[in-house]
Amino acid sequence: MKKRNLNAIYHSPLPVEVVALPPLVPHNPISVAYYVYQLVFVPFLWGFKRRRRLTAYLELYTDSVSSYVSSIAVDSYEDMQELWKAGFFGKGTQSRSDPTWALRTAKRLQEASGETEIVAPEEVTARRRAARKRFKNARALAEQGVLSNPADSEKVEANEEPRRQKPTRVEDLALRDSEGNVRQLEKLQLTFQEAFFLAYALDIIDIYDDRTGDLVTVPYLLGLLMPDWSPDNSFIVNYVVYHHYRSHGWCVRNGVKFGVDYLLYRRGPPFSHAEFGVIVIPLYSNESKNQLMRRDWYWSSGVNRVVGGVKKTMVLCYVKVPDCIDKWHTVEELLKMYEVREVVLRRWIPSRNRD
């Protein structure tokens, strides 16, 4: 398998373009001139250029009493790719994480004979599992003494897994458009925190109401996401944590599969496993309320075993909740009313910490 150059594919940690200043060599006049040009004129030229904006659609669910946001998703292929490649935002609705459904489907429909380049992480997993299964079967047979010659096991394996030729299904025909390309049926679903971060903090995404087609402005979006305006609203508390880790360079992704609120990747899922699992705990000014909300040791032990079993460290992230969030002029002021403090919790094994 050809190793892809991950640094080239995922070169920027956030979907914002950066123009670095060239290195300055003081005794070289050309270098100085170029530096001045970059420093002074490029920002001037950029003043006329509009930043490329991405588009997302918001789906509102309305019942008799109120309406609330049911999902926020991006459906243009280019926007999905940009959001994934620069910062690993969102999740493909038909994929494990990276929106690869179109690629995988195109490959399946091609009925490619022989090995093609591996594109999707789902495929890497599937191949690894198949190889492991073959190995286990062969080993089990060898253990039972059925086969003594390893060459025989190769034969058995070849018999067991013949190369299947998949027939084209009728429903597959509908997957192609008139030009024979695979239709883009997948969307990239964003968590509310991700959507708010992209819309408010980075200002690179425009969110439209799915039904009316109206632009959802940041104040309106904030009103939709935290309708009750209570200081410990789960959206705002989680957003504070999300923003905190994003702003310190971590790639933050949902951690529900590991029993935590967020996973922290140093760079992103293709580079390495997540190092930390974050649990968000609101912290009130009223200490007796904090006392009531204390968890027991069984809970912490459970989460710790799950998180520790996949070599991550459990982080308890306390968010100090203000008593009242009525007085603010900017969202920045609102967010600054909250404060975070972290504590790590790890299992400690005496016999392994003695030397």
Partner: protein
Amino acid sequence: MDDLDNDYDNVPVAPGHGEHENAESDDEQQDWRMLATIGSDKKSLPKRGEKEYEPTGSASDRNNVDESRQAMYTALNGERQHTSKVHISGIWYPHLRKAKVLVARGPHFKSIGKADSSGTIWLLPEEVIYLVERGSMSLYNARGDLKISLQACYAACLGACQGHERYLVYAYLKRLGFIVQRATSFDESGEEQVVQKPDSCRIGRLWKFLLQKFDSFCTGLRRAIAKQIPSFGPIICGGVWRSYDSIYRELQIIPFYSHRGSHVTPKSTVAPFKVAYNVWKPRPSFKKSNPGEPDFRVVVVNAQKDKMPTLAQAGALLSTLPACHDSTSTSQERLREGYKNVIIGVVDYGIISFMTLGDVSFGDEHIYERHTANNRLSKYHSTKKR
């Protein structure tokens, strides 16, 4: 029995596990067949066996298990003996809640007991139970005419140990070979004394402050030029950004608890979230009179009675501890272990589970800075891919 403790040192470490080693399970199956090969020569005890993965159900597998079990029975049938050369005897004084040692012999006194001005060695109640329980000591009543049984020893001493849980943790760590001593905050009233090192890096802080001022000045300028100061953002306005570092610095608006530059005043802790024991790794150079900084500090809680601490309780506990990392540690180490940490022994019906509680601050670690440094980035990359 001390040999058994030392024997753990020889357990081979699987390659590539290094730092994660202590996060793994220690509940491995013991292969008792090792005992069978020892026979009468008891000088060296066995090493821990390999973990046998995925039993296949074959005849050889069953045979292995049977052999191992038989070896365990044989080992348990062996006669257990103590030498009189290192036997200790002492007298329990209930009103002092201490035991006076009459004959101090053996290696235990390197780390156990405390001598008074006249040279008499006194033992604390948990030390007494521990020694009597392992058969190293005979305990007598105050008149010195009656030998106290183990049961009576428990009855007499346990009340002075500040709870059964604390004794269980003490004995467990002692049996594993650690050196365990009471911390000053062991009693309800005692407080841990910590020498806080003054922060020496003033120029660095001043420089950082100036940089921050310059950054905020640039932002103001940028916003004035962009003519957009709306209430609802954005933080990252349009225009040219020179590096991701500057974008990240701009995004950092959430206040966080920082460990840099702030002087922590120790707060008063409340039971059970007080350091009960100071623990040192086994070392031959250990001196009772000058033990040095402990390797670990252990808090003992009861899983049935006590829940997890609130941040205020945990913060008070952590405020009494000294920082444990020097300047050479990596950000990964600091984030995994915490700037300071304490071990919590959670006792539930006699089963002990240890956890470390570490004080960290992700905001103090500028991990984003590597995105601009290309050489460091490639170095990081090559180490991550194994």
